[in-house]
Amino acid sequence: MPRWLTSGRVFWLALFAVTWALSTWSFQLYKALDARWIIRFPKKWQLELDGAISGFLIWLVEDAGFYLFSFKDLTRAMAALIEAPYQFLRNLLIEGFSSGYGETAVQLAPSLSWIAIIICIAAIGLYARDWALAALVGCCFLYLAVFGQWHSAMITLASVLIAVPIGAVGGLFLGIAAYRHPWVDMALRPVLDLMQTVPVFAYLVPILILFGFGPVAALVATIIYAMPPMVRITIVALRNVPDEILEAGHMAGCTQRQIMWKILVPSATPTLMVGVNQVIMLSLNMVIIASMIGAGGLGFDVLASLRRLDIGGGIEAGLAIVLMAIALDRASQAFSERKYRVRKSGNLIQRYPLSSTVLFFAIATMILGRLIPAVQTYPEALTLTTGPFWAGAMEWINVNFFDTFEAIKLVILQGLLLPVKKFFTGIPWAWGIIATGLMAARIGGWKLGIMAMLMMGFIAASGLWGKAMVTIYLCGVSVLIATIVGIPLGIWAAERPKAGKVILGLMDTLQTLPSFVYLIPVIMLFRVGDFSAMIAVVLYALAPAVRYAAHGLGDVPEQMIEAGHMAGCTKRQILWRIKLPLATPQLLLGLNQTTMLALSMLVITALVGTRDLGQEVYIALTKANAGKGIVAGLSVAFIAIIADRLVNALARGQRKRLGI
């Protein structure tokens, strides 16, 4: 055997060759053998899980009961528990408080004026960090008022304000339970894994069935979506409290409860705040997606504009989402970095200057607002709209660059997307299962191989093989492109600190944007289809590739580089021979994150007309078919889990080889 042909290479070459051959000639094979099962999973073996799940849900809603009350009562009670504070916040932010209904309603108090809300958010910024942050978040909210997005934005904000405390506190308590009782931890772990990989649409359906269309269902979905990271971060944060601090607590004679609330939780607060930041960002993301099941607000505006092909309106509302996301992200991030400061002394006002100021303005604008309506509500006559401008800009781009864009689209479609699609969709399901198993076993051991085969088997048996292959192809291509674009950007950022600051800052901002936002420009420039979906996915999933590459290169020990210099390496050799090999574990972690983000975005691109598992979930949502949605959602989750385990196994192997 020639030296380059090691056994590893032979394995991969052979695997690829067989797969390629089977994929190319599967149809001929089916004709020649007259064996339709080769390309279609036999109907009679198909799992009918979706029917069972739907049936179960219907039973749950209609018949299930716990002696004293029915399941329906339970969901009603939960709904009421969420509804009440939500309505209160809506009154506070939007509608004002009144007693009585309809014509006879008497207004008791108006909502907070727009001025008071802006001052409040700026004060939060000032409290969390400094005047610069206060100005930033204040301006973001001012934009909402001036550009006529206030009403929708406040609906979104009210949802976020409900979802975040419930999600954060719930996550904290679950995390504490898992920290204290190993069995809770064991039980939660697989659930958390699934929650992070099941696409959001999939659990919208059962929630829709249980809670009905409306803001409450949207809030429940949001809370479920935003809680898992808080649970994880809580567990990690509590475990990471130094042993000595815990021991100091025991030696001071703390009881179990004091240990938790006086030692562990306060010491872990900075990390816990990172979790809260995540909850906020995920809530915002989900609130927008959930506009589809009745949340209303900015997400609904975007969706409605897109459906009307109102380009300007879509961009305007999208921009409002972006600014709100930035404001909430920066403010909550500042909290996690906030240092304890010496407390002020003096009377109530001196001790709490910010709260006093906010309260003063709230009351003052309330009184003034009775006389001058503009103080209460931003006057409509003064709102600006950029809608026509954006619409014009888009039209201009489309008029002048239509051919260019079409050409680019065509080249990439024919040169890359279609061949890859043909390859993946051609693979016969039986071989696909075996090949995945072989690949997983080779990389991560036979246990992983068996797990991968079982998961792929589930997908095939659910009759979703073809759609799953479309998902894998779209995800694969998007991840490939994100990596090809992202890693050089990361390298650039690591090598040139100045450029790095800009690039990483941009990536940070990209990551704070709700996934929905990415669809807007893509649809406008490229309309619907696989190509648009791919662009949106690449944009959404780019950030981790860049970040991990930059960090991986930045973390290479200085000594290694000095050793390289002393060995007479050129700059290029240092990059290729020293930095990149040492950074591969980090690059692989970046790849893992990119893949996970790509899969989660891919489901949302069902809105721009892909024909993959995402579409399956989305159809299930529109038809309120819970079983179908869950089965398709699980299929996406399984693909994500296999990819995650594979890449992690690769990274582990690489780390071991490098001895780090």
Partner: protein
């Protein structure tokens, strides 16, 4: 020195690893090889120590030798795998949670290597923390804590947060916190190891100053033999979880029980541990330049004796027990004794 025993541990074992408990019941006296075969770590192996009231008992050994584990067994932060521990005559290991909390709230204090201060509390609040968890009202506890803060020389910094202090200052807060409940028994786990050498020296002096005022019973852990001999009344030398020898610094140097201890003490400047009483010769006739006490360190009296033309008398409890010559002092100084 009062010789009543305040804390005693008998045949204490701490073994880490899967099924450590059942292993020890099957194999009551495992050797190092037995442990390794079963993938267990013998962090503390058959430890016997008696801490006497009012003494400074130093546990000394290289990193990983089991010092921290032993001291955590003594305070029951770590549950020993086997053995018995008696605190003031009561069985520490059979106490329930409430009794243990009571003992820790009133009788024990501990100082940690990495300071272990609570980041969200000020210096004063950190020092008052053990009183806070007992539910003592704010005014009383902060008064008491303020006394401690002053005692350790941090007056004026009481409203700072730990991150605003230097390492040495943070450890002073740790000391104040451990003393605020006026414990009888004071554990210090490598309290000065995280500090720079100069600061460490200063903190040792500070520590001796405090001990001269407070007369606590102290279990002090260190990996630094010089620190050990500076502070200790008695030293326990540990290796691989085993206590090799318990003795005064001088005995360790003069009569090392094992090769390991001998190796350890070889490079110690002996004049810092050997006392006049250990190098006396029979009293001879002639003139004497003066008198020294038998407990004085050679280091402290060397220049005095070397400079004189005649030997010195050595006294014990006012009685002359022998003489010390210039030659004897020089022998100690150059390491011949």
């Amino acid at each position: 020195m009062n010789t009543t025993t305040i804390l005693e541990c008998r045949d204490v074992w701490k073994i880490y690893g899967a099924k450590a408990d059942s292993f020890l019941t099957h194999t009551p006296d495992p050797q190092k090889g037995d442990l390794r075969k079963h993938n267990l770590i013998g962090a503390v192996r058959r430890a016997n120590v008696q801490i006497r009231k009012g003494e400074i008992f130093v546990i000394m050994g290289l990193s990983g030798s089991g010092k921290s584990t032993l001291v955590r067994c003594l305070s029951r932060l770590v549950e020993p795998t086997a053995g018995e521990i008696f605190f003031e005559g009561k069985n520490l290991l059979s106490m329930n949670e409430a009794e243990l909390i009571h003992i820790r709230r009133t009788k024990m204090g501990m100082v940690f290597q990495q300071f272990a201060l609570l980041p969200h509390l000020t210096v004063l609040e950190n020092a008052a923390f053990p009183l806070d968890v007992q539910g003592i009202d704010k005014v009383t506890r902060e008064d008491r804590a303020m006394e401690m803060v002053e005692l350790v020389g941090l007056k004026g910094r009481e409203n700072n947060y730990p991150r605003e202090l230097s390492g040495g200052q943070q450890q002073r807060v740790g000391i104040a916190r451990s003393l605020v409940v006026e414990p009888d028994l004071w554990f210090l786990d490598e309290p000065f190891s995280a500090l720079d050498p100069l600061i460490r020296r200063e903190m040792q002096d500070e520590f001796m100053r405090l001990q001269n005022m407070l007369h606590k019973t102290i279990v002090f852990i260190t990996h630094d033999f010089d620190e050990a001999i500076r502070l200790a009344d008695r030293i326990a030398v540990m290796k691989d979880g085993e206590i090799q020898q318990v003795a005064t610094p001088e005995e360790l140097v003069l009569n090392p029980a094992t090769d390991y201890v001998a190796e350890f003490t070889r490079y110690v400047s002996r004049s810092k541990v050997i006392t006049a009483g250990s190098v006396i010769q029979p009293l001879q006739d002639g003139t004497f330049a003066g008198t020294v006490d038998h407990k004085q360190l050679i280091d402290d009296i060397a220049s005095q004796i070397e400079g004189a033309n005649a030997p010195y008398r050595v006294e014990k409890d006012g009685e002359v027990i022998g003489q010390i010559t210039r030659q004897a002092v020089i022998d100690v100084l150059v390491g011949r004794a």
